[in-house]
């Protein structure tokens, strides 16, 4: 039995190849594991047939074609192709960090997750785009549904270098101007920036009618503090440093992190924003399933 890549350890999956291979493998496994298309419903306005894929709901199966040609097709409707999804990927310097060498950096994890998400959306014929940013907007790939869009998105991910700092709220404010049409906005970030300012931008998107989804990426080492008896931890973005004894601060730190996650979750819920906390050791399939 072939292993489902979406459920394997992300670091192991990443070793199988580049973003495209990993994302396709993840999406194949992911779609094989669900019984319906993950994100969108179907309109009553029929447009075309497409081949049945595992996970498609049987009620949309075209029984006539099945009866005549003994092949499986599902009926697609007009509104399905009208979804516009924009993936906002945080490429700041803090995203290029990994707790241990065996684990993916947050950026690497985010790239693969974004690629897989884009692939799923494009397979559903949803117009999907990509914006990468750090303190500035680095890449903007408008949402399209045409062939080769996924390849462009992947290239956009690959072409975005690791940034220096994070002024996400500024980037997000600029993004609001780019996202004129309503759609779905997926933010993939470690959220290491000012929460209130970032929330103001996300709230604005929400106000403009966007469906906003936040993936809060964290390395497991950021959740549970470990390290040598005494160490100077330095923020790679701001160069702010602090000397701590991880063993004696571990509990307080864990409480602080949990409090921060809870604060994000609560604030997002209050504004109708979907919030998902994802650690970089979480299999991609489980992360994607959070969206269903």
């Amino acid at each position: 039995m072939a292993q489902r890549l979406d459920l394997l350890d992300p670091a192991e999956v990443a070793r199988l190849g580049g973003i495209e291979i990993v994302a396709e493998g993840v999406v194949e496994g992911f779609l094989a594991g669900v019984h319906r298309s993950p994100f969108r419903g179907f309109s009553v306005e029929f447009t075309e047939h497409r081949a049945y894929q595992a996970g498609d709901e049987l009620r949309y199966l075209d029984w006539r074609i099945l009866g005549r040609s003994d092949r499986l097709f599902v009926k697609q409707f007009e509104e399905e192709t009208n979804l516009r999804a924009m993936i906002l990927l945080d490429a700041s310097r803090s995203m290029a960090w990994q707790g241990t060498p065996e684990r993916l950096t947050k950026r690497a994890y985010a790239d693969r997750l974004a690629a897989a998400l884009a692939l799923i959306l494009l397979r559903q014929r949803d117009a999907t785009g990509l914006v990468t940013f750090d303190e500035q907007v680095r890449q903007v790939i408008p949402a399209r549904v045409k062939a080769g869009q996924w390849t462009r998105i992947v290239r956009g991910l690959l072409d975005t270098p690791d940034g220096r700092g994070t002024a996400a709220h500024a980037a997000l404010q600029r993004l609001t101007a780019l996202l004129a049409r309503r759609g779905m906005v997926v933010l993939v970030s470690d959220l290491l920036f000012d929460r209130e300012l970032a929330l103001a931008a996300l709230r604005y998107l929400r106000h403009r009618g966007h469906q906003v989804i936040v993936f809060h990426l964290m390395d497991p080492a950021e959740v549970k503090l470990t390290g040598p008896p005494e160490v100077r931890f330095r923020d790679p973005e701001s160069s702010v440093s602090v000397v701590v004894r991880p063993r004696e601060l571990a509990r307080a730190y864990a409480n602080t992190v949990q409090r921060e996650i809870a604060a994000w979750r609560k604030a997002c819920r209050r504004h109708g924003i979907s919030y998902h906390h994802v650690q970089t050791d979480m299999p991609f399939g489980l992360a994607l399933r959070l969206l269903t």
Partner: protein
């Protein structure tokens, strides 16, 4: 507080280790990238006070832990009033097993009570102490605790009197000479008043004298001495009676005559003569307090007047103290001397001898020659020599004495005076009008006039300073003249029977010279042991050095007080428990407060 191992306190320097580690650990820590520093800073801000308190608490706990462990290793001794160990102490345990300790009080010998106290004292000693045991012989016995316990267990009432004042003084000096923090003398005695009569002990400051208080006073009667004189035995009684019982009481006395010892020097003597004589005397209180003094005179049977050494034993009815209820005695009956008086010895001497011969106190012979000094001393076994009547012959007489080896000679005419003769009471006070001074040395002086020798003995020769004539002395006209001549010829010149007394188990030991028995020693307890009157606490306190050094205590109080001046509890166990507690707290603080 003191310490058994004070050198271990040097380890207290280790208490600085936590602080030193804290300072030394202030090195540059490794630097690592960590994006969520903002979370760290927030957590640290929230925990800063708690962490500071934790660090301080941990450092205090660790410092205290090391200090407590070091203190425990030093074995601290803290003062205690109750039980516990004590500082090293030099202690002398005086276990007074003198004869009086054999008295039965409250259905048990006094010695048993003293022995229990001594064992208790000894049991409280440790290997760091120096312990001596003193018994009634006054000998200080050192040794291990086990050895001294064995001595105590095997001790019985002895026969020697212990002068407690002297014993305490010596014991105090011994312990004072020891370089130990504690110095004590435990006096376990019946504290007879007579044992404290010799003054006040010199007890150095810092030496504690702990005396077991005496028991109740008991009545006792004992035989102090027995002397035989002129056919009668005089039994001196001693003892004690409780206050208020000062009515004279009859005392039954039994005399056993044990028979004669053949004595060549005595000229054969008689044999047999054994028997038992019962008599009653009147014991009357005398002296101070409850002391009893009395004498009972018992006439001896005629057969016991036969020449020779005689043994006897006087006995009282048994009472609380048995050792003084019997006492042996010995006496010698000399055979009648064979005496010759030279013509120059004078008419008074001749008359006295005639009287004695008639009374068979002397017989005709030349064993003893009484001369007038008119010629050289007679070549007889024994001689009694008067100065010559003619002063011109004094020189010749002196040469005769010198030829016989007598170191005395007549010198100048002495001043008149009265006789003083402690050994011959009949002579005391007799006037002497004329005399020669007796010059010589070293021999026995029997009587003096004006402090100058008047009657001396040198070997077998008796030398008189005056002639036995009324022109020289009033002695010939005195009633005691004949007894004096009797004593001279039968006892003094021949050599008086030497009967001494000494402390020891009741018995008689004879001294011999060649084949002759020349004396006897009668052993028995010291008469003062019969007086069981206990000393008052005030007297004990005074005799043993004063209130600041002496405590007279009951058995229970003694048990609590001995070594209390230096009693310490070893606090190391408590400190180790405290160390465990500190370690547990440190562990809890180090793990639970993260």
């Amino acid at each position: 507080m003191s310490f058994l191992h004070p050198l271990a306190l040097l380890g207290l320097a280790a208490a600085a280790i936590p602080a030193l580690l804290h300072l030394l650990q202030r090195r540059i820590p490794p630097e690592l990238d960590f994006p969520p520093v903002r979370y760290l800073s927030a957590a640290e801000r929230e925990s800063a006070r708690r962490l500071k308190l934790r660090h301080l608490l941990l450092m205090i706990l660790r410092t205290a832990l090391i200090a407590v462990i070091v203190l425990a290793a030093a074995r601290p001794l803290i003062p205690l009033r109750g039980g516990g160990a004590h500082q090293p102490t030099a202690v002398v345990i005086i276990l007074d097993n003198s004869p009086s300790s054999g008295a039965v009080v409250s259905a048990g010998p006094v010695l048993d009570r003293l022995r229990v106290a001594a064992r208790s004292s000894l049991a409280r000693t440790t290997s760091a102490d120096r312990v001596w045991l003193m018994l009634c012989d006054g000998v200080l016995r050192g040794g291990t605790r086990e050895a001294l316990l064995a001595i105590i267990d095997s001790t019985h009432a002895g026969w020697q009197r212990l002068d407690l004042v002297d014993a305490v003084g010596r014991a105090a000096r011994i312990v004072d000479a020891q370089p130990l923090p504690g110095r004590e003398v435990h006096v376990l005695s019946d504290l007879q008043r007579t044992a404290l009569a010799s003054g006040r002990a010199d007890v150095p400051r810092g030496v504690r004298i702990l005396a077991l208080e005496p028991g109740s006073a008991v009545t006792n009667r004992g035989i102090a001495s027995v002397t035989v004189s002129e056919g009668a035995a005089v039994i001196e009684l001693g003892g004690s009676t409780p206050a208020g019982r000062d009515i004279p009481q009859p005392v039954p006395v039994t005399i056993r005559i044990g028979g004669a010892r053949r004595d060549r020097a005595g000229g054969g003597g008689g044999g047999g003569g054994g028997g038992e004589i019962a008599a009653r005397g009147l014991a009357t209180p005398g002296g101070s307090g409850g002391t009893m003094r009395s004498a009972v005179t018992v006439s001896l049977p005629v057969q016991s007047l036969a020449p020779g050494w005689w043994l006897g034993e006087a006995a009282l009815e048994p009472d609380e103290l048995r050792v003084d209820d019997r006492r042996p005695f010995a006496w010698r009956v000399a055979p009648a001397a064979r005496v010759t008086a030279t013509p120059g010895s004078g008419s008074f001497v001749a008359a006295a001898l005639a009287v004695l011969q008639e009374g068979k106190r002397v017989s005709e012979g030349r064993d003893v020659v009484i001369s007038g000094g008119e010629a050289a001393p007679p070549n007889a076994p024994h001689a009694i020599v008067q100065p010559p009547a003619d002063p011109a012959l004094v020189g010749q007489a002196n040469r005769g004495l010198a030829a016989r080896g007598v170191p005395w000679h007549w010198g100048d005419v002495g001043t008149p005076g009265n006789l003083v003769a402690p050994q011959l009471p009949a002579l005391d006070g007799t006037p002497v009008a004329r005399r020669y001074r007796l010059d010589g040395a070293s021999d026995e002086v029997l009587a003096t006039v004006n402090g100058e020798p008047w009657l001396v003995r040198s070997g077998n020769v008796l030398l008189l300073g005056s002639r036995l004539d009324t022109a020289w002395t009033a002695l010939p006209t005195a009633p005691g003249f004949v007894p004096f001549i009797d004593a001279l010829v039968n006892r003094i010149v021949i050599g008086e029977a030497d009967v001494n007394s000494a402390e020891g188990a009741p018995r008689v030991e004879f001294r011999t010279r060649g084949t002759d028995t020349v004396g006897a020693t009668v052993f028995g307890p010291d008469p003062r042991e019969s007086d069981l009157t206990p000393a008052t606490p005030a007297l004990v306190t005074t005799a043993f050095g004063g209130r600041d050094r002496v405590e007279v205590l009951s058995a229970s109080a003694l048990s609590a007080e001995r070594f209390s001046g230096t009693r310490r509890a070893d606090a190391s166990a408590i400190l180790l428990i405290l160390a465990l507690l500190l370690a547990a707290i440190e562990l809890a603080v180090a793990t639970r407060t993260r």
